[in-house]
């Protein structure tokens, strides 16, 4: 017998509005992040991305609308217990070691993971050798990785990462990408707020682009990327059939061959997420 079970989204936001005085930071945002989904949040500076993340965390109160984390109203204790958060601008006490930072957050969250959990998390973010190093002696990138480990204390259902790779070098970014994929495999939902479009495109299942407090585009990276034609390489050189799509490629090749042309290669062109982003937020973002 088929059992139907309602799945509670990790994050559900509906008609969310936030005003700071006369400035409207969010203007009716609605989105859902499913269980185990990697969701990318894109948008220019001041678009309202961090406000949305902070509302989900309970650090900012919405003016109207609703936000729920794992079914609990954002800002309530059950909602906060279900999430882990890495702020865009954060700092840990400089005198604490990496291990002490994690131990502090274990105590506050009621996690009983003990040294084993701390060791695993430090290993996951590549800081196992720096467990006893004071935060004040860590590079910004190391602190950011420690911040990610901190957010994962207590095995949250939803991770809210606000620019988690802004201070990381390419190797650090790769570590975080692998980490995000590992989280997905564990069923942890992630809301990734990032400026790095290529990174979002690589790891996220779905993406929402926010501009001026509104969601202006949403979908999978593939959905957001538009067909850009079919490029065929023949003896006479490359030719682009701009209006054609992937399904048109066999017919184009057939027509060219029957017309006596020799075909050496075919490439279906699509716009990148960056193109979709720039189209969504306008020329001002260039």
């Amino acid at each position: 017998m088929l059992e139907l079970r309602a799945v509670t989204p990790a994050l559900a936001v509906s008609d969310l509005r936030k005003s700071y005085g006369r400035t409207e930071a969010l203007r009716g945002v609605a989105l859902e992040v499913g269980e185990g989904e990697l969701f990318g949040l894109l948008g220019p500076n001041g678009a309202g991305k961090s406000t949305l993340v902070k509302i989900a965390c309970g650090l900012v109160r919405p003016t109207t609308g609703s936000a729920h984390v794992a079914g609990a109203r954002a800002g309530t204790l059950p909602a906060q217990r279900a999430l882990g958060y890495l702020a865009e601008l954060f700092r840990f006490p400089e005198w604490q070691s990496a291990d002490e930072v994690l131990a502090l957050h274990q105590r506050l969250s009621g996690s009983d993971g003990g040294p084993r959990e701390r060791g695993e998390l430090l290993e996951l973010v590549g800081l196992e050798a720096a467990a006893d190093r004071p935060v004040g002696q860590m590079s910004k990138g190391m602190q950011q990785r420690l911040g990610i480990a901190q957010a994962m204390i207590g095995s949250p259902k939803l991770l809210l990462l606000d620019e988690p790779t802004s201070a990381l070098d390419p190797a650090g970014r790769r570590t975080v990408r692998r980490l995000l994929e590992e989280l997905r495999s564990r069923g942890v939902a992630v809301l990734l707020n990032s400026h790095l479009l290529s990174e979002v495109e690589l790891v996220c299942d779905r993406v929402a682009i926010i501009n001026h407090g509104e969601v202006v585009a949403a979908g999978t990276p593939a959905e957001l990327s538009k067909p850009g034609g079919v490029e065929v390489e023949t003896a006479a050189g490359s030719r682009v059939f701009a209006a054609a799509g992937r399904d048109d490629a066999p017919r184009i090749v057939r027509d060219l061959v029957s017309a006596g042309e020799e075909v050496y290669g075919v490439r279906v062109l699509t716009s990148s997420l960056e193109d979709a982003y720039l189209e969504a937020v306008g020329e001002g973002a260039r």
Partner: protein
């Protein structure tokens, strides 16, 4: 409760790691050494001076003046400690990005404020009590004079710094660290001026000045508690000695009666409620 203990411990641990307590301890030893030197010299001078007024006990007047001065110094040091332990608790820590990771853990905002108040007022209260008791012992050892009351002034000083801790914590919800520190010291200065106005009013028999001073002391009860504490050290002293003490700079303390302590507790509750309400509404 666990979160409150952890947050309270974190604040104290930070003070230890940043060597706040070490510096405070070293400077307090210097302060007490200076007080001891002054006390020894003052009693030497008084003993060698034979032309004292009849009916005035010079050692009592000297001891009361010195300990009164010391109590002001102790309160001032306690206030500095209170302000520096609390001035950036909310806005300061939020601007530095220290607060948000803690609150999301989750630590309820009321728990954070209550824990920081408990730890700061406990440390500052213990500090002023210890410094007062040591100063009192120094005064007795070098001059042979004990205050008339011991517990009451010690608790009065501790309650004064607890109120200043609460004001500083409440201020940290509204103001950035530097602005809050300046504001609390100015409030402390206003209380001090209120006390001095009261003494001037007493000396000039000016009811207006006395009323202004009394009203200000009720509005800023740390000053009223300090004055009561000051009055308590010579509570049983009478006659010309009493008169001589009252004429001195630390002698005109006013007794604010039995309502002072209930008002101080209510004041803490009011300041706490305002701070909690504002903190709950603050976007971080």
């Amino acid at each position: 409760m666990n979160a409150a203990r952890t947050i309270a411990g974190l604040g104290l641990q930070e003070a230890v790691r940043r060597r706040v307590f070490l510096i405070v301890a070293v400077l307090t030893v210097c302060y007490l050494a200076l007080y001891g030197l002054g006390t020894w010299q003052a009693f030497e001078e008084v003993e060698s001076e034979s032309s004292s007024f009849r009916g005035v006990e010079p050692d009592v007047v000297t001891g009361a003046y010195l300990l009164g001065l010391n109590m002001f110094g102790t309160l001032f040091l306690g206030t500095i400690l209170a302000v520096f332990l609390t001035l950036g608790t909310v806005r300061g820590d939020a601007e530095r990005g220290l607060l948000q990771p803690l609150l999301v853990r989750p630590v309820p905002r009321r728990t954070l404020l209550a824990a920081r108040f408990a730890s700061a007022s406990l440390v500052c209260g213990a500090y002023v009590i210890v410094v007062f008791l040591i100063s009192m012992t120094i005064t007795w050892a070098l001059g042979g004079w004990w205050p008339d009351r011991i517990v009451e002034p010690a608790l009065g000083l501790a309650a004064s710094v607890a109120i200043l801790c609460a004001l500083s914590l409440a201020g940290s919800v509204f103001l950035a660290s530097t602005a809050n520190g300046i504001a609390v010291f100015m409030v402390f200065g206003a209380g001090l001026v209120a006390g001095l106005l009261g003494q001037i009013g007493e000396a000039l028999s000016s009811d207006t000045l006395s009323d202004v001073a009394t009203t200000a002391s009720w509005i800023l009860p740390f000053e009223a508690l300090y004055q009561s504490a000051l009055g308590a050290i010579t509570a049983d002293t009478v006659g010309f000695t009493r008169l001589a003490i009252d004429l001195g700079p630390f002698g005109g303390a006013e007794d604010f009666g039995p309502l002072l302590w209930p008002w101080a507790i209510a004041y803490l509750a009011i300041v706490g409620a305002i701070a909690l309400r504002a903190f709950a509404a603050r976007d971080l």
